[in-house]
Symmetry: C2
Subunit: 189 residues, 2 copies
DNA sequence: AGTACGCTGCACACTAGTGTGCAGTGGAGA
DNA sequence: TCTCCACTGCACACTAGTGTGCAGCGTACT
């Protein structure tokens, strides 16, 4: 049930991914529905965007808490994190744009938990001398996963090639030596 | 002469840096001037944005061609590049936002020359085995200087601390080993 | 057959921005 | 002093989006 609502959400992710300033009308017609119908499911544009964000945040926090609980080394945990979120990263590339822009404030709040989990992971790596300390954990984690989104955005076919490159690039900037980075990535099941 | 025009441009850089969607009215009042006056100098919003971009591009291409002519090694050239553009990078952080958004097409075109020069520099480094090859030169250069802008945006006081951290972070992601990166940065006059 | 419900296709009011026209004002320079 | 010119302050027309109201329509379920 609610297939129209789901289709609107799916399509909105695409449309807003292409152009974060797209209007309700654009989303509606992309979903093969009339604008009025979208308002039937989401009272306001912000509601739609918030729902989208909550979806994304739920997925990412699930992965991150799972990984954090596994007690793996920070660098291995990072590799697993990228490997697991990569398939959906391109779909959620819109998050990058949403943090700035109209609803920045509201969205930023929702992303808070993800930010914290990532910062914790990076900090753990820095404390264990696995990651470099040229930047504070909060900043480094933000920039690193910003790079992941940027690369996912670039990698249109979203192949495994991109996943490997993204993982290596971020490991490098986290201060992991290239040889170790390659080993970690190739050990991935 | 034209001090009002210059003030508008300066202020616009700040205002649009804060909020890329700011209107002509916001820019005008921030410049202590009435909206109508802004239109006196710039026939349309796009004209203003284009002028701003041309300014930034001119500065960056000047630095890059200068460095490219010096014939330094790619990694040393990169360090010099960051050192020289860093002081103005925070001012031009708006460029990040402008590439997407309303005038993306137009702005992207203007940034072309900068993109090419950067890609050339990175490619030179890859050919000489100074930089890693996990990503094509075009992508790697884009992501790396995206990180520079992101860090400049984060580093509110825009101190030399940030410059050092930004340089090291980007060198790492370019595949330069940490020891070498630190040496390069500390050799900087 | 009847009903409930989700979608449609209009209508509307409202907001916020862009870009233009034009008369008026004040100060700097010939 | 007179003139030029930049800036002002208002008017306006236009666009593009948001969000709402309401009658109608078709389909699926009972």
């Amino acid at each position: 049930m609610n297939e129209t609502r789901d289709r609107i959400l799916d399509v909105a992710l695409d449309v807003l991914g292409e152009n974060p300033d797209a209007g309700m009308g654009d989303i509606a017609s992309a979903a093969g529905v009339v604008r009025r119908t979208v308002y039937g499911h989401f009272p306001s544009r912000l509601d739609l965007v918030r729902t989208l964000t909550e979806r994304a945040v739920a997925e990412m926090t699930a992965v991150l808490t799972d990984i954090n609980a596994s007690g793996a080394a920070a660098d291995a945990a990072w590799v697993e994190f990228i490997a697991r979120v990569w398939p959906v990263t391109h779909r959620y590339r819109v998050l990058l744009a949403l943090r700035r822009g109209e609803y920045g404030e509201a969205i930023h709040g929702l992303l808070g938990p993800v930010d914290e989990l990532l910062a914790d992971l990076v900090e753990r790596g820095q404390d264990g001398d696995v990651f470099a300390q040229h930047l504070p954990a909060g900043t480094l984690s933000q920039v690193a996963y910003g790079v992941v989104f940027a690369l996912a955005d670039d990698d249109q076919q979203n192949g495994t090639l991109g996943a490997r490159a993204a993982t290596i690039t971020t490991l490098l900037m986290l201060g992991v030596p290239e040889t170790r980075a390659v080993t970690l990535v190739d050990d991935q099941p």
